[in-house]
């Protein structure tokens, strides 16, 4: 008898506890969660630790040597700089210190790759910087010119940083937005069927299409898949209408082969 009373009391106590803990939540209003905002996570280690492109490094070294001889800016190639003006202006001491610091930050030569070489070729042209020459004449412009160069180097390194990944969200969005506007979806397609067309593209650096290939080409001639041909043709028309495609200005190796997956189902199902 006593045992039963104890068991009954224990269970009653448990029920009361559960009720006491959970019931107050019923009175509360549900939490109004803010909408989820997608955030792109970017690895910034390489950005903060800026390495030099290999060819640029060599050129800078050459320039520095000449600079030491001639006492001109390290970024001014000797051929293009007029002797009267830059040669006549000696670099301030602070500038030389900064150059030495940059020399200390030499990147690891093992990280050199083909793409970095291409980039460095580009950088070679950029070494002749009119802003920097102006800075030699007008010292007030010096800081601004340096900042520009630093930004360029950061951009250059970002380019290197993304070449192992796909397109960034903003790059992908730009491309999508362009193609969305060009793609006239055939409205008569059966929306309960597979409406996915995959097209592989080979692109020029300016985004012009060199070659387009429908990956599921065999479906075109299958019985009962007549709609697929219509869909594939509309996708090809969209690509032709849109080109040159809005691709990133850098990292050509990364996106020279691109696959576009056209899926009309979402739009047609509404």
């Amino acid at each position: 008898m006593t045992r039963n009373i104890i068991i009954s009391s224990t269970f009653h106590l448990i029920i009361i506890l559960i009720a006491a803990m959970s019931l107050p939540f019923l009175a509360k209003k549900p939490i109004d969660l803010p909408p989820i905002i997608s955030v792109e996570l970017i690895q910034i280690t390489n950005v903060t630790n800026i390495p030099f492109a290999p060819k640029a490094k060599k050129i800078i070294e050459k320039v520095k040597k000449k600079k030491k001889e001639k006492l001109v800016s390290e970024q001014a190639p000797p051929k293009t700089v007029k002797r009267e003006k830059p040669d006549a202006v000696p670099l301030p001491d602070k500038k030389i210190e900064k150059i030495k610091k940059q020399e200390d930050k030499k990147q690891n030569p093992e990280k050199i790759d083909n793409e970095a070489k291409q980039v460095s070729e580009f950088e070679k042209k950029e070494l002749f910087d009119p802003n920097n020459i102006a800075a030699l004449i007008d010292k007030s412009k010096e800081e601004a010119a340096e900042t520009t160069n630093k930004l360029f180097k950061v951009a250059q390194d970002q380019d290197k940083n993304v070449d192992i990944a796909g397109l960034t969200l903003s790059e992908e969005d730009a491309l999508k937005a362009q193609i969305f506007s060009c793609w006239s979806i055939p409205l008569g397609l059966p929306y309960n069927k597979n409406l996915l067309v995959r097209i592989k593209l080979k692109l020029k650096p300016d985004g012009t299409v060199i070659r387009s290939e429908i990956l599921d080409h065999a479906r075109m001639n299958k019985p009962g898949q007549g709609f697929y041909k219509v869909l594939a043709e509309s996708a090809l028309r969209a690509i032709k209408l849109c080109q040159p495609l809005r691709v990133p200005t850098k990292g050509y190796e990364r996106w020279k082969n691109l696959q576009l997956n056209f899926d009309a189902r979402e739009m047609l199902e509404g």
Partner: protein, 446 residues
């Protein structure tokens, strides 16, 4: 040995591999496709011959106008202004300069040629993909000269199918009730016309009241309700021969007839002693079968395209709602649960939707819902409108709408209207008189 060297060489080569980047395109624009419809070219000799027979100055231009109007009416195409064309149609028909057509933003191009051959009309046409720079389709049709409008419709159907992926609906006819006179003394006649409002013919004289004509989906038979000798009954009419007959020997009123998708049966309502139920009659052996047996009013039956189900409206729940049952009458399920009263359900030829008329707060709506009642969409609303009928491809609905003719609300006019499934492309279908109760035929060129 050579293989080893090659292997070592390959290992030494600096290789950099990039994964293929994939981008998903899940959106596009649903704006009409820009299309250039050139005037069909014709030689002078053929032109004169057609002018003599058909009393048409330029039959080639007339055919291209038919095609252009059809494409425009569909809402899916935007025929470009002919003044902007840079290349002449007779040259374009053989070899279009795609750059010229791309320059005026055309994505597709229709060219063609008309010739007079053995007292007949021969029309050849080509459809070109301007951006891809290739021919998509090339066909030729020969028929009696008087059929020139049908040729235009058939060409439109072919172009529509090639560019949208679904069958067209242009080479079709519409049967309807032509109305004349004041509302209290209305004369109603059966009339038939092409889907674009041309070639109207009257099938009855207007001595009796006629209602709800419906096409047989497989041939040119029509079933309708006629008040012959003031007795409302379902009749069957052969359009080709003009022969008509009463459907079944029912002791009371039969109404709301419709063919089964295979054309073998007629399904209708039979009313007696204040109760109406759904019946079918086999057109071959004339056997009548009762489908529903309920003390409520069951009416407006319509078969699913696979013949397996029937949708109808019934007031068995207290208000008129839409129900679906198996074609033997079993497994009755209510599918409409929205506010208001639902009626005239019609199963889509594609089988995925049911169109209906809804009455709510003094307004009439034409809408569609899935066959299980979900996804209800109201396409259009008005003061009074009803009786939707599907185009054979299940994309467009035709219905009739009554409107007041003056500001005081006196007088009224009934006209046919069409609307596509997007709900945006609503158009008046021109008729010679007032019109109601439209029914769309299947494709004539099937």
């Amino acid at each position: 040995m050579l293989f080893r060297y090659l292997l070592i060489l390959m290992l030494l080569l600096p290789i950099k591999a990039f994964g293929l980047i994939e981008v998903d395109i899940t959106r596009g624009n649903l704006s009409p496709l820009p299309i250039a419809v050139t005037p069909l070219s014709i030689d002078d000799k053929s032109k004169k011959s057609f002018e003599k027979i058909l009393k048409k100055k330029d039959i080639a231009a007339e055919i291209s106008t038919v095609i252009e109007n059809n494409l425009k009416q569909s809402g899916l195409f935007n025929p470009l202004n002919k003044d902007a064309f840079l290349q002449k149609s007779d040259i374009a028909h053989l070899k279009p300069r795609f750059e010229d057509w791309a320059l005026i933003k055309a994505q597709a191009l229709i060219t063609g040629k008309v010739t007079f051959v053995d007292e007949k009309i021969r029309v050849e046409f080509r459809l070109w993909d301007v951006l891809a720079g290739k021919e998509m389709m090339a066909l030729a049709f020969t028929t009696v000269s008087s059929n020139w409008r049908r040729v235009g419709h058939i060409i439109t159907d072919k172009v529509y199918e090639r560019l949208t992926g679904e069958k067209g609906y242009f080479d079709t006819r519409i049967i309807y009730v032509a109305e004349e006179g004041p509302k209290t003394n209305r004369i109603k006649k059966l009339a038939i016309m092409d889907q674009d409002g041309f070639n109207t013919k009257y099938l009855t004289l207007g001595n009796e009241l006629v209602l709800t004509p419906r096409f047989n989906p497989t041939n040119q038979m029509v079933t309708y309700l006629s008040y012959f000798r003031n007795l409302p009954r379902v009749y069957l009419l052969d359009i080709e021969t003009g022969i008509q007959e009463v459907v079944g020997d029912f002791p009371g009123m039969t109404f709301a007839p419709r063919f089964s998708p295979d054309g073998r049966k007629i399904i209708m309502s039979f009313a007696m002693d204040g109760n109406s139920d759904i019946y079918t009659m086999d057109l071959e052996n004339r056997i009548v079968e009762r489908i529903t047996n309920h003390p409520s009013i069951d009416t407006s039956p319509s078969y699913s395209p696979n013949n397996k189900y029937i949708c109808f409206n019934s007031d068995r729940s207290g208000y008129q709602q839409i129900y679906v049952m198996k074609s033997d009458g079993s497994n009755v399920k209510r599918i409409s649960f929205g506010k208001g009263i639902y009626g005239t359900p019609v199963w889509s030829p594609r089988g995925d939707l049911i169109a209906f008329t809804k009455m709510h707060k003094g307004k009439f709506y034409i809408g569609v819902m899935r066959t299980n009642g979900s996804g209800e969409r109201l396409l259009t609303e008005n003061f009074y409108q009803e009786a939707p009928s599907w185009s054979p491809n299940g994309r467009v609905l035709i219905f009739y709408r009554e409107t007041k003719t003056d500001e005081k609300g006196e007088g009224f006019s009934a006209k046919l209207w069409s609307i596509d499934l997007t709900g945006y492309n609503e158009r008046l279908v021109e008729t010679e008189t007032d019109a109601s109760d439209p029914s769309w035929s299947s494709l004539l060129s099937n």
